[in-house]
């Protein structure tokens, strides 16, 4: 871990080297370790230390960006020089007004020392618990257990300096019999909250019950979506609908719908980068404080996230949701929460006369963005529900259904929620479990 003082030294050094009209520097320092297991033993075990420095320089309205992970003075100068050379070749950006000025940024405590100092032996001990329980139950364990320390800092020549250190632990497992599998995962800032026994029990129980599945005809069913599956709904809504850029390009389902009902009136979804009980990052990659943004409130479309370019286009302020420049993707909701309901998760099944229990989705992709029409597979625990009880394990389905329709056909929402973190998008999500009607399964693997 570099620490705030060392990172401030780097940002000061870069800002001093640059002769541009305006300069921004982002520092991302990571120390991560991951233990992977399969066939009930550790087969990959890795650690990584990296620090990236990204420099954006502005000459008039010309902008150049360069990055490096070499922190030597010569390399920092080379990075600044590269950014300048690029800016000189750049065309003017008529929309560009200025890098952001300093604003007050809330400090959010998210660094847990025991997570940062967790050792390979400690990870092996946790994985060992999972593998031993698997062997005892005659199932096969696979999964991954990671601990990560991240430091993010953004500084610019207008006086912005924002720094945030954080940690998280993430563990997931798939337990397998010859014919079935079960899944469980857990994410927390504090690695001491990982309960290997509970995780193993959840996945093993599901794997055993999922064995010898039968095929059920595809069609429209009521589904009980566990939090693992609801996570996917939140990911695709964030990607396709909750961004100002998607609105401005007429490809968001929210376009023209603000103030109108777009989902069931029990559905409330928001973004909050400062929520201490998730994986927070209280500022964006321009150093703008993250505001809490409500997307859908009791089913009514309320707003989307903005970065500086999309905000300026509409004459408003950024909500603090920029990704690092240069950014083709536009603003992104990195911390999405869905409000819990009032039904205990264990009671959700009682609302279903005949339906399908879905543990999680796999390989989901957008078929039609405006409809949030998604295709994908079920995985690691799919069951038939009859008269409020799980009766049979099912072969996995392919679905092609609208996530927007699903959130309009909500029957029940669990009281409990679950935290997730996704490496691919550096995004955290908090999701309840749901029961929704009319979920469209379009195929089954025989």
């Amino acid at each position: 871990m570099l620490g705030e003082n060392k990172i401030r030294e780097i940002t000061d050094q870069v800002l001093a080297l640059s002769k541009a009209d305006q300069t921004e520097v982002i520092v991302g320092a990571t120390e991560s370790a991951l233990t992977r297991f399969a066939n009930s033993y550790i087969h990959q075990n890795v650690a990584e230390t990296d620090t990236q420095v990204r420099v954006r320089v502005v000459y008039g309205k010309k902008i150049g960006v360069a990055s490096s992970n070499d922190l030597s003075p010569d390399a920092l100068k080379r990075t600044v020089d590269t950014a300048r050379a690029i800016a000189q070749l750049q065309r003017e950006d008529p929309e560009f007004q200025s890098l952001p000025a300093p604003q007050t940024i809330q400090r959010v405590e998210a660094f847990v020392e025991p997570t940062a100092s967790f050792t390979p032996e400690q990870r092996a001990h946790v994985v060992g618990v999972l593998c031993k329980k698997a062997k005892a139950q005659k199932v096969v364990a696979a999964g991954a257990f990671s601990t990560t320390t991240q430091e993010v800092a953004v500084a610019n020549s207008l006086g912005v300096f924002a720094y945030h250190p954080g940690t998280y632990a993430d563990i997931s497992t798939v337990m397998m019999t010859d014919t079935g599998s079960g899944y469980a995962s857990f994410t927390h800032q504090d690695v001491r909250q990982v309960n290997a026994e509970a995780l193993a029990n959840e996945a093993i129980d599901k794997a055993v019950r999922a064995s010898n599945p039968i095929a059920l005809e595809p069609g429209e069913y009521t589904v009980l979506l566990e939090e693992y599956a609801v996570l996917d709904l939140l990911n695709f809504l964030a990607m396709t609908g909750f961004s100002a850029q998607a609105m401005q390009e007429d490809r968001s389902f929210m376009k023209g719908k603000l103030g109108e009902k777009v989902m069931d009136d029990r559905v409330t979804i928001w973004d909050d980068g400062c929520a201490p009980n998730a994986i927070p990052l209280p500022f964006d990659f321009e150093g703008v404080p993250r505001q809490k943004v409500t997307f859908v409130e009791n089913g009514i479309a309320r707003g989307v996230v903005y970065d500086t370019p999309t905000a300026q286009r509409e004459g408003r302020q950024s909500t603090g949701h920029s990704l690092p420049a240069p950014n083709s993707m536009g603003p992104y909701a990195m911390h999405v929460f869905m409000a819990p309901g009032d039904t205990p998760k264990r009671e959700l099944i009682k609302t279903v006369e005949r339906g399908i229990w879905v543990t999680r989705f796999w390989y989901t992709r957008v078929v039609h963005p405006m409809k949030v029409l998604i295709t994908g597979m079920t995985r690691d625990g799919t069951f038939l529900i009859e008269n409020g009880q799980v009766t049979k394990p099912l072969k996995n389905f392919r679905f092609t259904t609208s996530y927007l329709d699903a959130l309009n056909d909500v029957r029940a929402i669990s009281r409990e929620t679950k935290l997730f973190y996704n490496d691919w998008g550096s995004a955290s999500r908090v999701a309840p479990a749901l029961v929704v009607d009319g979920f469209r399964f379009t195929g089954v693997t025989a």
Partner: protein, 484 residues
């Protein structure tokens, strides 16, 4: 640098490693992106570092750092050793990588025009012209054009005595037109030469010039707009479809390339990417496809995005038969998995995403070999079918059996002719049934090695750049039109 790698390997051996290798990697990437007449991104990134892989007490450990100096190398080697010792606490067998491999060679991607020294101004101008051509077409909401270049310098050294230098260069580009209709809620997109941003090969800037982005821009834009009002792709369970070579390349990637990865087959990816239906007892006897289906994994094909001199555990690039006349005959292997299955030597497919990740089995260039048909003759031979072109969405299950693809553009074929454009063309199937229904593959005149620069696998996540040679092909009795 060789002093540093020698020191790292020496420390590893002294601390008890039965085997160790080190890769020192520096990667430069350059990206130029234009959107709606504006240069959206001009960016140059460099990343460097090293990764050390060791076997201690019969188990693997890997550690990596961006700080390439003597002190850090000692720290990281010790970290890798400690990690391997921890791995050995939960072990089922000793890692076995077979007979030692000693190679001292170097490799460079053959290029004609260095993309990193080619005029940036000319790159920008080319993209702006393509963007302008697309925006001339009324109804285009968003026009985008981009180029990307990669240069990776790699030094590999092992305690077995290998010492390999490589320089891999990639060039990629693409244009995209997006058309929308808020009244109907329709969003249509057309891409060229390929979707997901770009087509890419291990070549120099000459590859960019050959793509003729500006010349193709008006057609691409017009197709996006026409698609808004095109007829919906009909639904059928018994359609004949013809896939263009870029869509077929992704079909190969997902339904052949991934299930032949032997680490998946043996369970290493079970919790994440999944396993494979191509289990070991099927090797040499399972009918994967029709007689027309012949697939190889070839890391030597010129220009392929999976072309290199040596993989990231020091094995030479090779050409391996995967499907011979429809029969499944080969896997992608590593040194360890080849031993596990008794297949002899690795066929050289261990690839790492940069310095910070350990090598895992990845596709090289998994190519469907050309058949005998001219494209026009194949269309003329099709009485009732749908031509599908350029991928728009892709999804496949964790055993690589149940897939569904969406394409950007469909054409109805009636009486041997393309008759009307179809929107939202999708098809779905089960892998071996689908490939067994292939009754025609076009010839080498239409054969292209497509680049897939976005293949995700592994934990922590790794992105690989893979290649897929393909010519258009025809499939019978396919389920199409899944969208309601």
């Amino acid at each position: 640098m060789k002093d540093i790698t020698a020191r790292a390997l020496n420390i590893a051996q002294v601390r008890g490693a039965a085997y160790a290798d080190i890769r020192v990697v520096s990667r430069d990437t350059q990206r130029v992106a234009v959107k709606n007449g504006k240069v959206e991104a001009l960016q140059q990134d460099e990343t460097q570092g090293f990764g050390v892989r060791v076997i201690v007490n019969g188990a693997w450990g890997f550690a990596a750092s961006s700080r390439v100096d003597v002190h850090e190398i000692e720290r990281v080697v010790n970290q890798a050793i400690a990690i391997a010792k921890a791995s050995a606490l939960v072990k089922s067998r000793d890692a076995d990588i077979g007979e030692p491999v000693v190679i001292k060679e170097s490799y460079e991607t053959p290029i004609k025009v260095n993309p990193f020294t080619f005029s940036m101004n000319d790159k920008i101008n080319l993209l702006l012209r393509a963007d302008e051509e697309m925006r001339r077409v009324k109804g285009v909401k968003v026009a985008r054009a981009e180029m990307a270049f990669v240069r990776e310098d790699k030094l590999f050294a092992s305690t077995e005595g290998s010492l390999i230098n490589q320089e891999i260069v990639e060039s990629g580009c693409g244009i995209v037109a997006l058309a929308t209709d808020l009244q109907t809620g329709e969003v249509q997109v057309r891409s060229y030469p390929n979707s997901v941003g770009r087509h890419q090969q291990t070549r120099g800037y000459e590859f960019i010039l050959e793509q003729k982005l500006v010349e193709n821009a008006p057609r691409v834009a017009e197709e996006a707009v026409v698609l808004l009002t095109a007829d919906q792709c009909p639904s059928s369970d018994t359609a004949t479809i013809l896939l263009d070579s870029s869509q077929l390349a992704l079909q190969i990637h997902e339904s052949c390339g991934h299930p032949i990865e032997l680490d998946r087959v043996l369970g290493s990816e079970a919790a994440y990417a999944g396993t494979s239906f191509l289990t070991p007892e099927k090797l040499g006897r399972f009918r994967y496809g029709s007689e027309a289906v012949n697939i190889v994994a070839d890391a030597t094909v010129p220009g392929g995005l999976g072309t290199f001199g040596f993989d990231d555990e020091g094995m030479p690039a090779q050409r391996t038969e995967i499907i011979r006349n429809g029969i499944f005959v080969g896997y992608l292997t590593s040194r360890e998995t080849a031993q596990q299955l008794g297949l002899g030597k690795s066929n050289g497919t261990m690839r790492a995403d940069g310095w910070s990740r350990p090598p895992i089995i990845r596709m090289t260039n998994v190519n469907l070999l050309p058949g005998t048909w001219d494209v026009d003759a194949l269309i003329a031979d099709t009485d009732d079918g749908i031509w599908m072109e350029t991928n728009r969405s892709w999804s496949i299950d964790d055993k690589r059996l149940n897939f569904q693809f969406g394409t950007e553009l469909g054409w109805e074929i009636k009486g041997g002719k393309k008759t009307r454009m179809l929107k939202n063309a999708t098809y779905t199937g089960i892998t071996p049934q689908f490939w067994q229904s292939c009754d025609a593959v076009c010839n080498e005149k239409a054969w292209i090695v497509w680049g897939t620069p976005n293949c995700g696998k592994g934990q922590p996540p790794q992105v690989a750049h893979t290649g897929h040679g393909a010519a258009p092909a025809r499939f019978r009795n396919v389920r199409v039109g899944v969208i309601k």
